[in-house]
Symmetry: D3
Subunit: 69 residues, 6 copies
């Protein structure tokens, strides 16, 4: 599947923290940076997300803000 | 300012493409990955975004999806 | 690619309206309902979106609101 | 109330799964497709969402992505 | 229509700036604060938004971030 | 830090309701209006959010909808 979201970066799952409806997933990028994703537990389980699994982080460009120091 | 958005990654502006209301800004991350942000032109101008400028990419965790191959 | 977004519905492109940075794409669902998507022109062109093309509408569950009359 | 969100589709609540802060609500559309919404429990209770209730799914167009196979 | 979005604040349109696909609308709140909304031109025209018009600003709680100085 | 999000309004934390992954934070604006934010508990704790704390509500303009009665 080719999805329109412009931002797609490969990474590795560092942790999965399941709550009651949502799960918080930390992903380590190749350069060492980390990203946090909050998705439903249902999605995390369907995708069998677990520590060490390779994933692609997907972010729509209108959801990306920029800041300066 | 300390903002609640969990994802904050430093990068460098690679390009700024201004439309009529929105601007598309490409940012290169240290590891070489690229991210695209769509913000209003008003924000891009207020922040004086230009090629080579150092910025921080800011993304709320509920806006980050994950995918697997 | 299997993406975490819970909502994935097949449809057919009804129209593509390109602006200066963003494109507005209307999609007709099998039941006749229509959805409108706003993505970057760069994505619309990369995916070669055109009238009649079959697409999958993808929406993260935290972006779906509910209303009652 | 007439809200600017371009996507408004009628459906019927199929399930309500309440967590600790957020609730996951499945909605069946007339054509049989299903959509999942994650809203606060406070909203779900204020709107008295329950199985069988008729609702309108509301989605802002900038939150709708497209994909191709 | 009662929509699940938790944040609904009355205000008055201060300006409407139409681009090619999106429109930028400034709204003044009773306390004097201003909010900016970016919606499609199609929505702005359907709702006949114009300077001085009374509107309700609607924001989903998962789209609201917090910051501290 | 100067962030691109166009909407930044000062307010005071009225309540913090922590769930299992997400926290729901009510903020009172100077004019008396209230806004609700849903962020991760990790962010709420990092920022030491508590009743009475002064915060800045930050919202990206593409996440702001408008409605009319």
């Amino acid at each position: 599947m080719d999805v329109s979201a412009r931002n797609q970066i490969k990474g590795t799952v560092k942790s999965v923290n399941k709550g009651s409806v949502m799960a918080e997933v930390e992903v380590t990028l190749p350069g060492g940076a980390e990203l946090v994703s909050v998705i439903t537990i249902a999605s995390a389980e369907r995708m069998q997300l677990a520590v060490g699994k390779e994933v692609i982080v997907v972010i729509k460009s209108t959801d990306v803000m920029l800041a300066t120091d």
